[in-house]
């Protein structure tokens, strides 16, 4: 396994917005991390990348094993050697992800120079190759441009190039397309998929859109209110969702041929991290809620049919 997250919990002071998350990701694989807003997707990403201290959070418990090393045990300088080099990050909004005062090329070059020890010229050559491989026309001219001179889609490619420049093994992409237009969004998603296959990277793709997951992910982890609801391979997950929340999320996306009025939605809203209820956090919105769901936390358990599930009353069960 390239990345193994076990029982990960994140705390901010007394608040624990993320508890007991576990999932795996292998090379050449795309893991979709889905859930509604506030479910803890970004926190998971930050925890894996070791960036929690930046927002003054900390890992309270659990391990993040990357290529055999438990990152949670590393000191910041050691961790820094991983970041950018072996683990790269792509964030949601390309409009704000680049330093507006630095030329594009320099922002990409620095990764190869810092981590791969390349010379200025060497790094620039790498950068241009990289940009060309991302189908950016006139790569040389673009690398001399400033971020504000590029369109959003183009900028997101630059951010991806920046991620690739350290020749990483793992890319964490946190909603890389939500800020983009639909047509561009599709291109970026497909581009990421392609990169994973070509380069044998692991990709952790964070999204709230089950459609995206269905289109590109191999494996899915569904988060709800800071806990893992279900993880599984993508195809069976969509074919026969076991967690009521997974099913409901899928049901929220209109599909062709759907009868008007059949779009279900999920009643209620995600609770805030400071006000998590006892028991299953989804129980208030769940159609299958029983008494036990109110009081007892369903822990993720491995299932014979594959993946893990945290539900007292899964679908398909009596």
């Amino acid at each position: 396994m390239l990345l193994s997250v076990r029982d990960l919990s994140v705390r901010f002071g007394q608040v624990e917005p993320l508890s007991g998350i576990s999932f795996d990701l292998d090379r050449g694989e795309i893991l979709g991390l889905v859930g509604e807003s506030g479910s803890g997707k970004s926190l998971t990403a930050m925890a894996v990348a070791g960036l929690l201290p930046l927002v003054s959070g900390r890992i309270a418990q659990g391990s993040v094993t990357f290529d055999g090393t438990d990152l949670t045990r590393l000191a910041e300088p050691e961790l820094r050697a991983y970041r950018g080099r072996r683990i790269a990050l792509v964030t949601q909004n390309p409009m704000t992800a680049l330093d507006p005062a630095q030329r594009i090329g320099e922002q990409i070059d620095v990764v190869a120079r810092l981590h791969l020890g390349q010379s200025r010229q060497g790094a620039r050559a790498t950068t241009i190759d990289l940009l060309t491989s991302l189908r950016i026309p006139e790569a040389a001219a673009i690398s001399d441009a400033y971020p504000h001179q590029l369109s959003g889609g183009m900028k997101q490619r630059i951010v991806i190039a920046m991620a690739l420049a350290g020749e990483p093994d793992l890319i964490i992409a946190d909603e890389p397309t939500t800020a983009l237009d639909v047509t561009v969004q599709a291109q970026i998603i497909h581009l990421l998929g392609q990169l994973v296959r070509e380069r044998g990277l692991g990709l952790m793709l964070i999204t709230h859109d089950m459609g995206v997951v269905a289109q590109v992910c191999d494996r899915v982890a569904v988060l709800y209110a800071g806990r893992l609801a279900e993880t599984r391979e993508a195809a069976p997950l969509f074919a026969e969702p076991r967690h009521p929340y997974t099913a409901a999320l899928i049901g929220c996306i209109p599909r062709e041929g759907m009868a008007p009025g059949s779009l279900a939605g999920i009643p209620g809203a995600v609770p805030s991290a400071a006000a998590y209820s006892a028991g299953c956090r989804f129980h208030a919105r769940c159609a299958r809620m029983q008494e036990r769901c109110r009081t007892e936390v369903p822990l993720p358990a491995l299932r014979p049919e594959g993946g893990a599930l945290a539900c007292h009353h899964p679908l398909g069960a009596p």
Partner: protein
């Protein structure tokens, strides 16, 4: 069928920016020659990418901004020529729901205050029980009347926004991306609510979105816009797209079904600047079917099959 409830004829709106001391004034057509009709009880969808003029069109239809060309009729009455008093009276019959539920409510107003405003504007006081009835209609508890916006979730706020639009029992509602900033689960709730309201109150909607999948689910007909102009009007939600741009939008839609993974015919090129539109078809730069004709001549919107106008030299 009787007259359409609302009709727009060759609507256009030009914006000028800059024109300060240092920058030369630049102008762009945010909406170019858009015509359409919405029948009573119908839902007309408008889709297009960000900046293509959807919101501008919505504002023009409700005359929240003045058109630079064309006119709008509502129930046989010309909206574009009305004086302030008549316009205000007419506003009881048409309402708008906004994209951002966070800024569409005055933070100082309680829910009850917000729902009273449509009456206050008309110089009335709401009839007894009306506020509670409205809350009930959008699925909010009456206890919420005293809450302030910051105490509500995004979905709840949007419900308040819808209730406010419903306050004067309008015939027609413009929904400008009412779910774009909400989670999918909440989006589905809101769409469900809007369907119910339409069914129960016989409302007519102009529904704006950038999500073709959603529009095709919710609307009867779909207007596809590109850079301010209509490129295709799909007569039915499930009609096959004829314009390459509509096709591209459709391909970009992610279906939640891993067994139906699509390969994408990637669009190349960049969207031209609205300030500097090319001579020919605005989509030419990105179109997989482009020919010299497209670059030279702007295609007119014409009906390929009855009720299905497309503006393309080489329709699919």
């Amino acid at each position: 069928m009787t007259d359409p409830l609302i009709s727009a004829e060759a609507l256009g709106r030009r914006f000028s920016t800059g024109g300060g001391w240092l920058r030369p004034a630049r102008s762009m057509m945010a909406v170019r020659g858009v015509s359409f009709q919405v029948d009573r009880g119908e839902v007309l969808g408008v889709v297009g990418e960000s900046g293509c003029g959807k919101s501008t069109l919505a504002r023009l239809v409700l005359r929240l901004i003045e058109p630079t060309a064309g006119r709008v009729r509502f129930d046989g009455q010309e909206v574009t020529g009305l004086g302030p008093g008549d316009l205000r009276r007419l506003r009881r019959r048409m309402a708008m729901v906004f994209q951002d539920p966070y800024s569409s409510l005055d933070p100082r107003f309680t829910v009850a205050d917000a729902l009273t405003e449509p009456f206050a504007v008309q110089g009335e006081t709401p009839p007894a029980g009306r506020i509670n009835a409205l809350l009930d209609q959008v699925g909010l508890s009456e206890a919420m009347a005293a809450s302030y916006p910051h105490q509500l979730s995004g979905g709840q706020r949007q419900r308040v926004g819808i209730a406010r639009a419903l306050a004067q029992a309008p015939d027609f509602m413009v929904l400008d991306e009412p779910t774009a900033s909400l989670d999918v689960s909440i989006q589905a709730q809101i769409i469900g609510l809007l369907s119910d309201l339409r069914r129960d109150n016989g409302l007519t909607y102009l529904f704006i979105s950038h999500d073709l999948g959603l529009v095709r689910y919710f609307c009867d007909r779909v207007l596809v816009m590109y850079l301010g102009a209509v490129v295709e009007v799909m007569p039915r939600a499930d009609a096959a797209p004829r314009h390459p741009y509509t096709r591209a939008l459709m391909d970009s839609n992610f279906v939640p079904d891993p067994t139906r993974r699509r390969t994408l015919q990637a669009l190349t090129g960049e969207i031209p600047s609205a300030f500097d539109l090319p001579k020919g078809c605005a989509f030419a730069a990105r179109c997989p079917r482009v020919t010299d004709l497209c670059r030279a001549e702007n295609p007119e919107l014409r009906e390929l099959t009855p009720g299905h106008p497309v503006a393309c030299h080489h329709p699919i």
